[in-house]
């Protein structure tokens, strides 16, 4: 009996010890006693915290913003949008020309190498784009390059892209983080999801899944010396814990700050907060396939009943008020559209509801339980109720919401669009064009006149003309009360004061290439 006992105890002890020592950090990695002193004090590194982990580190196989934050440091695109002017500029590309409406000849920069030593050239570009387009890859963002017909490497530094039809937003699509250029040799040898290789300022070191990703400076970076030696992406699921870590120095950079925490963060002495207009838009929309919602008076009554100014005030400065569906930082926006929607007019709303009996049947207002959607639903519910509507809120978690909204099982709902490419066509086509009803067009909006304007904005390659069509499409939606913009997002960051040179782009992405610590 005693022997058995001893054996059992030894066994349990061994199990525990072997299990617990499994999480030791790699040798040589600097350990820092948090609690003694700020973790990264003096070290030439930046520790960023996000509430969830990256899904993977292959631009081809992912479609989420956390992964994209990491990938932006590792990979680069042919083009990128200048965050100041919002113009598209060449990055890995040198220049481009259009011999005709269907052809894009892109000249590449010379002498650039991937982090694994592979040459960056036309073949690498072809490989990256063909992989993204190949149905066998099952890339979540394959649709980015759907209009592309062929990609040809003409010579070492020239790529020719032929599209199936004239495609205006091509350069914007190529600036999307999921259209970044990957190292073909690395992709054939290893899984880029776990072990990424690009041309960017930082290269991959390690990933302790669910905990942290470590990148280090790419010493051979083609576009100037990188100041930081190391970057860490830590997963801190609870935002209030992340703020405490920012306060103690365990973390020195947060972004996408929630409105309810902004005053706490602004009160921290060692922290600087930045806010600027961004591309995300949050809107209330109808399920246009339902008969009641097809009545223009019904939509007008709803639009007149929703006081958007009152909602934006609740966001503590983290929202921009504009009627326009395309926000101030999106290609196709015009200032006139700011006030071109149906204004808040509770009396008119009440009158329309009474005259038409809109209050007889309840409205099912669907809200996903993330971001500000529930807050929006509650405020809109009370405003609509005041106008005489009957509103029932139904909240659900994200996965269920995606399916329910896609299937059109609701009367009205709140949707958002981050608009990574900052292009108006990329907002209108997936979200409101009849081609995408039942998929990304969750509003089930289908209007031939609107479709034509959106198609025109996509199938001309002259930017000025595209802008004109987008402005018209925008106005068309506002006149039709097809969607009611609640607010346009403000992109934010909170950094320790020693961090200099960090700028968050309007689409919420950022690069640490020019960031240093002082």
């Amino acid at each position: 009996m005693k022997k058995q006992w001893l054996f059992l105890l030894v066994l349990i002890g061994m199990l525990i010890l072997s299990a617990c020592s499994g999480s030791t950090i790699p040798e040589g990695e600097e350990t820092s006693g948090a609690g003694d002193a700020p973790a990264s004090d003096g070290a030439n590194e930046v520790v960023y915290a996000s509430t969830s982990d990256a899904v993977g580190l292959s631009p081809t196989m992912t479609n989420d913003s956390v992964s994209s934050n990491v990938m932006t440091q590792i990979y680069e695109n042919l083009f990128e949008r200048n965050p100041e002017t919002m113009e598209l500029e060449p990055k890995l590309a040198e220049s481009y020309e259009n011999p005709d409406d269907l052809t894009w000849v892109i000249k590449l920069k010379e002498g650039i190498k991937f982090q694994d030593g592979t040459d960056f050239n036309a073949e690498a570009v072809k490989y990256s784009f063909d992989k993204l387009r190949d149905p066998a890859t099952a890339a979540p963002r394959a649709s980015l390059l759907e209009p592309v017909d062929t990609v040809t490497a003409i010579d070492e530094t020239t790529v020719e892209i032929k599209t199936k039809y004239p495609y205006g937003p091509l350069l914007a699509a190529l600036s999307h983080s999921n259209a970044a250029i990957i190292s073909p040799t690395a992709d054939e040898k290893q899984d880029l999801m776990q072990n990424p290789v690009g041309t960017g300022p930082f290269k991959f070191v390690s990933w302790n899944q669910g905990d942290e990703i470590v990148l280090e400076k790419n010493p051979d970076y083609w576009n100037g010396e990188v100041a930081l030696d190391q970057v860490k992406f830590k997963v801190v699921p609870e935002i209030s814990t992340a703020i405490s870590m920012l306060q103690t120095g365990e973390v020195n950079f947060l972004d996408a700050l929630p409105p309810e925490q902004i005053s706490r963060i602004e009160g921290l002495e060692n922290v600087e907060v930045t806010k600027q207009e961004g591309t995300p838009v949050y809107y209330l929309t109808f399920n246009h396939s339902r008969e009641r919602n097809q009545n223009p008076d019904f939509r007008k009554a709803v639009a007149s009943a929703v006081d958007r100014d009152a909602f934006v005030e609740k966001l503590n400065g983290l929202g921009v008020r504009s009627d326009s569906i395309l926000g101030p930082k999106v290609f196709g926006y015009t200032e006139e559209a700011d006030k071109a929607g149906t204004p808040y007019d509770p009396e008119l709303a009440k009158q329309l509801v009474q005259e038409n009996g809109f209050g007889n049947e309840p409205i099912k207002l669907l809200a996903a339980n993330r971001d500000n959607f529930i807050l929006m639903a509650e405020i809109v519910q009370s405003q609509l109720t005041e106008a005489g509507f009957k509103v029932e809120i139904e909240t659900m978690e994200w996965a269920t919401f995606l399916d329910t909204a896609r299937g059109g099982e609701y009367d009205m709902t709140f949707l958002s669009w981050s608009n990574v490419t900052s292009d108006g066509s990329e907002m209108f086509y997936p979200n409101f064009h009849s081609d995408n009803v039942g998929n990304s067009n969750r509003a089930q909006y289908s209007n031939p006149e609107f479709d034509k304007l959106v198609e025109a904005s996509r199938t001309t390659i002259v930017p000025e003309e595209r802008e004109k069509f987008l402005a018209e499409a925008n106005q068309f939606m506002l006149d039709d009360n097809a969607a009611i913009v609640m607010y346009h997002g403000v992109v934010t960051s909170a950094t320790e004061k020693s961090i200099k040179g960090l700028k968050v782009d309007p689409n919420g992405q950022w690069s640490l290439a020019n960031v240093k610590r002082e």
């Binding site: 394959a142 302790n208 830590k234 209030s240 978690e397 269920t400």
Partner: protein, 313 residues
């Protein structure tokens, strides 16, 4: 005892089979589709079809389940839909953290719980007893997220004695121990309170038993009366509570793991459910179920040591 272990092993096989079917079918029936989460709001119908085909989600339910089972029997628990990482690897990275946290919390819980319970039973109705029972009530009532946030503010942010969160150092180093203190107290308090209440009531019951009176009448020293005659005999229900609590803690403690940014099994499971990452949910639920059965088996074995009258053979 060998018979007990063999019997439990058999039970475990059937239990795991049942659980795996239950989890598989409930994830299958649940609204929300893994492919549309991977595709995100931008995915078109053809994107989603391609992702489904890639993950094998376009096959009939029973085929999917049979495939899963066939692989699982051979030790292959599949790949995460989200990250394409092997499920076994993902769990292996996180389980040590959950185990460390569970053991540390149990140490806190057992020490505080038994001492408080003992004191409160031996000094029944005294001021000490009242404070101990108040502590127990508070321990059970205070939500973990609140206690965790409070401890962080006091000991990590203001006093800066301990780190705010994370768990990246080996447990036998000073940093490793520092990382464990706040989460272990947060998590241990609830269990400590339960153990204290159980110790108190169990001790009070035994302390009035005839054999205790006899022992005292025979002139046995009070110390021996308490430790040998009373506590050992009061231990059975206490061990049961400890075992159950430990089993729960090994299943991952979502809130504490979240508040202290600990990369554990609880968080893995909840994230996997939110992302409809079926293989990951399956893998982690099966692990938790197995551990629960194992802990209960150990508790049963400990009974025989405490009370030799208990025999399973």
């Amino acid at each position: 005892m060998v018979a007990l272990i063999i019997r439990r092993a058999f039970q475990l096989v059937f239990l795991l089979l049942g659980i795996s079917f239950l989890v598989f079918s409930s994830m299958y029936i649940a609204p929300g589709d893994p492919a549309s989460i991977i595709g995100g709001p931008t995915a078109t119908a053809s994107d989603i079809e391609a992702i489904e085909a890639n993950l094998g989600l376009d096959r009939p339910f029973l085929v999917q389940y049979a495939n899963y089972l066939g692989n699982a029997v051979q030790g292959d628990f599949g790949y995460s839909y989200q990250t394409s990482q092997p499920v076994g690897d993902a769990i292996a990275v996180r389980f040590p953290n959950t185990l460390k946290l569970a053991i540390a919390s149990m140490i806190v819980a057992v020490i505080i719980g038994i001492i408080t319970g003992l004191v409160s039973a031996l000094k029944q109705n005294s001021l000490l007893d009242v404070s101990a029972t108040t502590f127990a009530l508070a321990g059970i009532s205070i939500p973990n997220f609140w206690l965790g946030a409070l401890l962080i503010l006091v000991f990590a942010v203001n006093l800066q004695w301990l780190p705010v969160g994370g768990m990246s150092h080996p447990f036998y180093t000073v940093d490793g121990i520092k990382e464990l203190i706040l989460p272990a107290i947060t998590l241990g308090t609830g269990s400590a309170a339960m153990i204290a209440r159980m110790t108190r009531s169990s001790m009070l019951e035994v302390i009035r038993a005839d054999y205790v009176r006899t022992a005292r009448a025979k002139g046995v020293k009070e110390k021996n009366v308490i430790w040998i005659h009373t506590l050992k005999n009061a231990m059975i229900p206490i061990i049961t509570v400890i075992g159950l609590n430990f089993g729960f803690l090994l299943g991952g403690t979502i809130i504490t793991e979240k508040v202290f940014a600990i990369n554990g099994v609880g968080r893995l499971m909840i994230d996997a459910i939110a992302a409809r990452d079926f293989p990951m949910v399956q893998g982690s639920v099966l692990l938790v179920a197995t551990l629960f059965v194992l802990v209960n088996l150990i508790v049963d074995i400990i009974y025989t040591y405490i009370d030799p009258r208990i025999k399973y053979d």
